[in-house]
Symmetry: C2
Subunit: 183 residues, 2 copies
C-alpha cells in the first residue's frame, strides 16, 4: 500500500478506536438515564466502529512498524440528548468531510481496495447519522426512551440496520449471516 | 485543568483506545492459534486499557470541544509469539517512556490529580509487562498454551492480577469489589 494511503488508514484507525470508546461511554450514560433503547443504539454504533477499526488495522498489516496516529475528535460526555446531538454531527462530518476525501485520495494513488473501503464507510456513517437523528428527534419529542427495533450490524462494513437484514448487505454486499444482532 | 496536561490526557486517551483495540485483535489471533489462556490474558489487558481510556476521557470533561489527538503506536498483527513480544515491549515503554514523564509534566503544572493518575498507570503498565513476559517465556519454553490463573482487573486503575485480589488494590487502594474477573 502506498505511504499516504496507509497513513490515512492509520489515522482513521485511531479515529475509529476513539469513536468506539466514546460510544461505549455514551451507552453507559444513556443506561444511567434509563434510556435502554438509546443505550443499545450506542452499543450498536460502538460495535460498528470496532468493525471499522479492525478493518483499517488489518489493511495496513503489510507495513508493520511503529507509526504516529493523528486525528481530531469530539471530547464530550454529557446528558444523553447532548451526546446524541454530537453523535449526529460527528457521523455526518465523518461521512462528508473525512471518508469521502480519503476515498478520493486513495483512488488517486491507485489503491482501489482502500478507496472502496473508505467509500463504504462514507455510506455507513451517513446511514448512522440518519439513524441517530431519528432517535434524537424522538427523544426530544417525547422526552422518554424512544422505540427502536432490533439492531443488526454488518461485521464486514459496519452498517447498522433497524430491521431484519436482507440477503446481502446494501452497502458491501456481504451475506446476511454476517449481520450480528446487538443485545 | 491546565492546557498542556489536558492535551497529554487526550493523547494518552487515543493511545489507550488503540491499545484496547490491538489487544482485542491479539486475543482473536491467540484463540485462532488455540491458546485460550493467552487469549484471556489479552482480553484482560484490553479491559485494562479500556479502564485507562475511560478515565482519561472523563478527566478532560471540563474542557469540552473538538481536539487533535496524537500518539505513536505499534502496527503489528502476527503470530501470537510476535504479538506477545510486541506487547511486552510496548507495555514497558509505556511505563518508562510515556507515563513517567507525563506524570512529571502534570506535577510541574500543579495538576496533582492527573499526575497521580499517570503515576498509577506507569506502575500498572510495568506490572503488565512483567505478566506478558512470563506468558511469553512459558509459551517459548513449552510451545503450548501456558497455565494462567484467574485474572482480575481493577476497574479504577486497570491493574491486572493473576490471583484473588487483596482487600485493597496494591496500586490505587480501591476496594476489593472493584476488581472484575475476566472470563
Amino acid at each position: 500500500m502506498k505511504r499516504a494511503t496507509a497513513q490515512s488508514m492509520r489515522n482513521a484507525f485511531g479515529a475509529e478506536c476513539a469513536a468506539h470508546m466514546r460510544y461505549l461511554l455514551f451507552s453507559d450514560q444513556a443506561a444511567f438515564e434509563n434510556f435502554p433503547n438509546i443505550a443499545r443504539l450506542f452499543r450498536a454504533l460502538a460495535f460498528s466502529e470496532k468493525v471499522h477499526a479492525s478493518s483499517h488495522y488489518r489493511q495496513t498489516k503489510e507495513l508493520l512498524g511503529e507509526y504516529c496516529v493523528n486525528f481530531s475528535a469530539p471530547f464530550i460526555l454529557n446528558r444523553t440528548v447532548d451526546n446524541l446531538t454530537k453523535a449526529f454531527e460527528s457521523e455526518k462530518e465523518e461521512s462528508e468531510e473525512y471518508y469521502q476525501p480519503l476515498a478520493a485520495g486513495a483512488r488517486s494513488q491507485g489503491e482501489m481496495h482502500a478507496a472502496q473501503s473508505f467509500e463504504w464507510l462514507a455510506q455507513v456513517e451517513k446511514a448512522h447519522s440518519d439513524m441517530v437523528r431519528r432517535a434524537l428527534d424522538a427523544l426530544e419529542h417525547a422526552a422518554e426512551d424512544p422505540e427502536i427495533g432490533e439492531l443488526y450490524v454488518c461485521d464486514i462494513c459496519g452498517l447498522v440496520m433497524e430491521e431484519k437484514p436482507p440477503e446481502n448487505c446494501p452497502v458491501c454486499r456481504a451475506k446476511q449471516f454476517r449481520f450480528r444482532l446487538i443485545e
